[in-house]
């Protein structure tokens, strides 16, 4: 039972922001209002890509109070399995699509005296919604946003226009770097730090903040892994009594769903823990890519997160 409510939407606007990033806007097909949400929430977009159904999570970046339309921004990933390419190349204004209700795995801690946002590249999107939410209630925030170059700086203009004092932008090609230690040391008591961006950046911020003595509860991060392609493999599903093949371009979770089995998930990015599946038997090697299971669990050979992790070997039997 995946238990996620779906919404039928129509694509009402597509805006190309730069070479890599495009924004998509959705309204409900039935003309009714969309649910409100909280800043940091994502939606899972269903894509009918030929034979394959892809379900990719994208942060909602529109105003959480606005119920007329949702917006997401998608970064094209030429090496990925094609979800972002599908959005960029195959989706047009007027298309009907199915998205999930908002799901928030990266919400604001509303107790914070100050919210310090650190974004890398497309990791800016959840903060756009959080900033709109905080502005509405006079929340106190600062943003430090690192982009590759001026031409790839999605939403930089909008942010610096509307929030010149809160927004700080750093360009890689100009060798500008966030002076993280100094930044963290200068924060008032009760500040929470939030980071969203590439894995390296998340680790850097989390580790530095811990070393600087920040409490674990005051450090928040969100990283969606996109499932990576890999060698095909065979899986036996013990509960449903099926033997299925996982193709090169699909995830284990997608292969299970393709067989009509309703498996649980929320983030589809190795973060939420919802898809955790017990391994009954195996001979071979796991390619664990999630950040839900601990190192011990990865080594134990007893669990796998099928949304992002794969397997290479002869036998894999799952409790599903």
């Amino acid at each position: 039972m995946s238990g996620i409510e779906k919404i039928q939407v129509v694509v009402t606007n597509i805006v190309r922001l730069n070479e890599l990033v495009t924004r998509f806007e959705f309204k409900r097909t039935d003309g009714k209002l969309l649910p409100t949400f909280s800043g940091g929430a994502h939606t899972v977009v269903e894509m009918q890509d030929g034979e394959i159904t892809r379900l990719n999570p994208y942060s909602l970046m529109s105003d959480p109070m606005c119920q007329r339309a949702y917006a997401i921004s998608v970064r094209r990933d030429d090496e990925g399995r094609g979800g972002s390419l599908f959005m960029h190349n195959k989706v047009s204004v007027g298309d009907n699509m199915v998205i999930s209700y908002p799901i928030n795995l990266f919400s604001l801690d509303l107790r914070a005296k100050k919210h310090l946002f650190i974004a890398g590249g497309i990791g800016i999107t959840p903060f756009l919604a959080q900033i709109k939410q905080l502005d509405r209630f006079n929340g106190y925030w600062n943003l430090h946003y690192s982009c590759r170059s001026e031409s790839l700086g999605s939403y930089v203009d909008e942010l610096t226009d509307q929030h010149p004092n809160e927004t700080h932008v750093y360009y890689d090609d100009k060798d500008q770097q966030i002076d993280l230690v100094k930044l963290l040391e200068g924060q008032p008591l009760g500040t929470h730090v939030y980071v969203c961006g590439p894995k390296g950046m998340i680790d850097w911020v989390c580790n530095t903040a811990s070393k600087e003595g920040w409490p674990r509860e005051a450090i928040h991060y969100e990283e969606f892994l996109a499932p990576k392609p890999g060698k095909p493999f065979e899986v036996k599903l013990a509960v449903s009594g099926k033997v299925i093949q996982v193709g090169e371009q699909e995830s284990l979770l997608e292969a299970i769903e393709r067989e009509g089995i309703d498996a649980p998930y929320l983030c589809r990015g190795g973060a939420c823990g919802q898809c955790e599946t017990a391994v009954i038997d195996y001979a071979g090697n796991f390619i664990h890519r999630d950040h839900w299971l601990g190192e011990d669990e990865h080594k134990s050979g007893q669990k796998i997160m099928p949304c992002v992790s794969r397997f290479e070997g002869k036998i894999l039997v799952l409790d599903r």
């Binding site: 238990g3 409100t36 209700y101 509303l110 939410q133 929320l266 939420c272």
Partner: protein
């Protein structure tokens, strides 16, 4: 269905009563002849017509009297309603959830008119017609959570979700089974459940929390819980234990059928969209033993459950001393015939009492 609201009390003269309709829709909590704690959660997506599961927030004949009782409790002890400063947005979420669902589910009782942030709320049973600005506390007589929960049956815990846990950071708690919001405020899921016997060892709370953290917008869940109360008291709080604890000793073989009540809580869980909090309404239903015995299946089953209940549970639920007297009474309604699975009364298909 139009509802006739009872003129009744839950204190002093205890004029509380259940109509025949209320007995038939009473949420009898045992789906089989025995009971143990379990992760008994299911989706809250309606149920049989006129059952307490049908609507998202059940409104019944006790509504007006319960709201009167809540106002009395609050006048005595304002700490029954608390909301930490960061929970105001969740309070608005709750107000919106209740107003929207009640006006949709009971259009003849409740009306909500929205023009942007200018809202008008009409509550006919309580004679309320208020205009206010959504998200502006200064336009309501109380904070948003207190305002709406003075108009909604059952207790409400409003939980903040952070650090993979739930925190009891706000609530309106006046009809509770012997626990205190003032004591639990600010605690997390494991801390406030600490007094519960056996369930921790069985891993129930770890699994239950995992389920709750993943409850999504638009996909509420529910479960039933139960205990025993002597006299139809809503407010069985630790704060007032000195008043109601002694009433347990007034039970006699003669008055037990009328005085002893099975107390059932319909607990529901809704994700709150704007705050990402979770609300946990705990709706209390009371039914006297003698009213329960009018349903033969329930009579047979209640005897078996109470007889076989582990001592730890009977102690925690506070009726271990009265259990022998209860069994003396209940055994008269158990003829040993088998019972059908499920909680529904099945008056037409289950055999009459063979005694």
């Amino acid at each position: 269905m139009t509802i006739q609201f009872n003129d009744e009390t839950f204190r002093d003269d205890y004029s509380f009563f259940n109509s025949e309709r209320a007995i038939k829709r009473f949420p009898f909590p045992f789906h089989e002849d025995s009971y143990m704690y379990s992760v008994n959660m299911e989706q809250h997506r309606g149920g049989p017509v006129d059952s307490i599961y049908e609507k998202r927030f059940d409104v019944d004949e006790h509504y007006v009297a319960e709201m009167r009782d809540r106002a009395l409790v609050l006048a005595d002890d304002p700490l029954r309603c608390q909301s930490l400063p960061h929970m105001t947005l969740a309070g608005w979420d709750l107000l919106e959830l209740i107003m929207v669902t009640k006006s949709e589910d009971y259009p003849d009782l409740f009306k909500l008119h929205r023009d942007g942030n200018k809202w008008r709320w009409v509550n006919k049973p309580l004679g309320i017609d208020d205009k206010f600005v959504f998200l502006d506390e200064t336009t309501l007589p109380y904070g948003p959570m207190e305002y709406i929960t003075r108009q909604a049956q059952g207790d409400f815990c409003v939980l903040d979700q952070r650090d993979d846990n739930l925190w009891m950071d706000a609530g309106m708690v006046t009809t509770q089974a012997d626990w205190s919001l003032d004591f639990d405020i600010g605690m997390n899921f494991f801390e406030w459940h600490a007094p519960v016997p056996l369930a921790h060892e069985k891993g129930i709370f770890v699994r239950a929390l995992k389920f709750l953290l993943n409850i999504q917008q638009g996909a509420p869940a529910r479960r039933l819980n139960w205990t025993m109360t002597v006299n139809p008291l809503l407010d069985t709080s630790p704060e007032n234990y000195h008043k109601w604890g002694i009433q347990k000793t007034t039970l006699t073989p003669k008055n037990i059928g009328a005085k002893q009540h099975l107390r059932v809580e319909l607990q529901t869980f809704f994700r709150l969209p704007r705050s990402n909090g979770l609300v946990f309404p705990i709706r209390c239903y009371l039914c006297s033993f003698q009213d329960i015995m009018t349903v033969p299946k329930w009579g047979r089953r209640l005897h078996r459950v109470i007889r076989d209940l582990p001592e730890e549970l009977a102690t925690y639920k506070g009726f271990i001393d009265n259990r022998p007297m209860m069994l003396e009474y209940l055994k008269n309604f158990d003829d040993g015939l088998p019972t059908s699975l499920g909680i529904w009364p099945e008056i037409d298909t289950e055999p009459k009492l063979q005694k």
